[in-house]
Structures are given as C-alpha cells and as structure tokens.
C-alpha cells in the first residue's frame, strides 16, 4: 500500500525532470544534420581578391576551420578575440565565409578588428550559407582531412568551447 501511494509522486518527479531538461535546452540550437557529413562543395571568389577562387577541395588533407561571419553581425565581435587566439595558436587554418555582406564593409571590419582568417570567401547572396545550413551568424565548422564536418558551433565561440571542444578536436584530428 505504501509503494502504491508513492506512484503519483514518482510520476510527478519524472514530469519535473523532463520539464527541467526541456527548460535548460536552448531552442535556438538546432542539431545540424551536417555533422559527420561531407562539407558541401562550392566555388566562390575570395573576399580580398575577387580574382582568386576557393573551393573546400583545396583544403583536402588539412584540418581546417570554416567560420561564417559578417560585418553587420554583432555577436561576431564577441567571438573575434577567440578567433584571433586560434589563429595565433596556428592549430589549423581558419577560412572565413563573409555572409551576405558588402565587400567594402567587410574589409573595413577586418582592418579595424584584426584579421584572424587565412583568407575569407565572399558569399554575397547567401547561397553557400544555405548549403551549410547557416541560420544565425556566426557559425563555425571544424572540417577534417577528408572534408567531413566534425563539429558545428552555432552562435559565437566562447572561451569554453574553444578550450574544451574545438582545440582538442583539432589536435585529435591532426593526429589521425
């Protein structure tokens, strides 16, 4: 009889746990179906020099970071310091995707804040962004030597994400 009277209480606890988990999740963070898939290919002009093109194929055999940014994007400024730090550590090349921006504004932005990128490519109408499932700039992808996306960060990189996820992953991928 005593066990039976506990049943509603247990049911209540289960409900509380489920609601608790639900409340602590970020509904903006949609798990990307692209993780562990081949990085979509494209071929677009670079930002600084439009006569040069870039395709993810060019990075075959390297672990690299693909970072989506824009000069109009406020939170990109938040992560900028960490990108510069990553560049400084020389763990992996960072290729930027300048998403739906104006060339002039982007170049000014990089001049003012420092340029963490090996180079950036210019996605004027957002087509490359759509192929990468970008829905909120900034977004960051870690791509391995065979061109598979191994990690995606939605929103700005934080110190924690850099130290606990991105850096160790690059080191691990570089070893293989």
């Amino acid at each position: 009889m005593k066990v039976k009277s506990l049943i509603p209480f247990i049911g209540f606890l289960v409900l509380v746990i489920f609601l608790g988990i639900g409340l602590n999740r970020n509904p903006r963070e949609v798990p990307s179906p692209l993780v562990n898939k081949k990085a979509p290919l494209f071929n677009v002009a670079q930002l600084a020099d439009a006569s040069l093109n870039f395709s993810p194929k060019d990075m075959q055999g390297k672990v690299w970071i693909f970072n989506v940014w824009a000069s109009w994007c406020g939170t990109c400024r938040e992560e900028h310091a960490f990108l510069l730090e990553l560049r400084h550590s020389q763990l992996a090349p960072i290729i930027g995707l300048d998403y739906k921006d104006k060339r002039h504004d982007s170049l000014e932005y990089l001049k003012a804040n420092g340029d963490p990128y090996t180079f950036s490519v210019y996605d004027e109408n957002g087509k490359v962004g759509i192929d990468y499932g970008v829905y909120g700039v900034p977004e960051t992808y870690v791509i391995d030597k065979v061109g598979v996306i191994r990690f995606k960060q939605i929103g700005p990189i934080t110190e924690e994400v850099l130290k606990t996820k991105i850096n160790p992953l690059i080191i691990e991928l570089n070893r293989s």
């Binding site: 949609v30 990307s32 179906p33 692209l34 957002g126 759509i130 499932g133 909120g136």
Partner: protein, 154 residues
C-alpha cells in the same frame, strides 16, 4: 473657376500616377502557389514561431528564392523537402517524419491513452467490488417518510 477646377482635377489624378504599382510576386502564379503550399509546412529558423511562407526574415526570403528556383527546375515536393532537411534537419518540418528517433513522439500519446483506459477499468472494477448495498434500517425508513410528508405538506 472652371480653370481652377481643371487644375485640381489634374492634380487629383496625378496622385494615382505617382503611386507605385505593387511589384509582381513572380511571373508564374503556379510556381508561387506551390511555393506557398510547401513553405507553409516549414518552419523559419530565424523566427521559429513563423512558417517559412509567412516570415519576413532575410533568411526566409533567401530560402524562398532557392525553393522557387527548385520548383522552376521541376523538382518534386519530396526532393524539395529533402533539400531543406539535409541542411536544417527535421526541425524545419512542422510534421516530423515517423522514424526510429521519433516513434515515441508519434505513438507515445496512444500508449498513454491505452494505459489510462486500463487504469480506469481497473479502478472501476475495484470500486464495484467494494460497494456494499445496504437497505435502510427501520429508523431511517421512518425518518425518510417523515421528511417526505413534511415536504408534501409545504
């Protein structure tokens, strides 16, 4: 006076000339119709409470442009859905597909319903067993008659 009236009339019509005509949505209303049908079933990722058809966010506009392109290429609804799902996941669909990770979502309510019915039946049976049918005692009978008579007298 007549002249003034004429000037006013001309000015009045000038307003209509100045007003811009609403830009055409697309050359092909059939494409537009299909676009609306498809994008109403999809979530806008920037404003998650809006459908892709209704959202005015820039990403939604870009995506509608892409979908319009796919429709013009003669892609089927399934192919267009696949285009979106491969990029943004099942989350973009308002009706999640039935598969291993979502079966609980689809069947769960029915399991709960069956469980509820089972509990109800069990409870009712149990309750029936505990109900004792007692007839009224002599005293209670007299009391009842008395009450009834009083209410009739009123």
């Amino acid at each position: 006076m007549k002249k003034l009236f004429l000037i006013m009339l001309v000015m009045f019509y000038a307003i209509f000339v100045l007003a811009k005509e609403a830009p055409l949505l697309a050359e092909d209303p059939l494409v537009e119709q299909r676009l609306v049908m498809i994008s109403e079933e999809m979530r806008c990722l920037v404003c998650q409470n809006e459908s892709l058809a209704g959202s005015r966010s820039e990403l939604a506009q870009d995506l509608r442009r892409e979908l319009r392109e796919l429709i013009k290429q003669g892609k089927s609804d399934a192919e267009i859905k696949e285009f979106m799902v491969s990029r943004y996941g099942d989350f973009v669909l308002y009706r999640p597909p039935v598969k291993a990770t979502t079966w609980l979502l689809w069947i769960g309510p029915f399991i709960l319903l069956i469980f509820g019915i089972y509990m109800l039946i069990k409870y009712l049976r149990n309750r029936n067993r505990h109900i004792e049918y007692k007839s009224l005692s002599q005293e209670e009978m007299l009391g009842l008659h008395k009450l009834l008579r009083e209410s009739l007298d009123d």
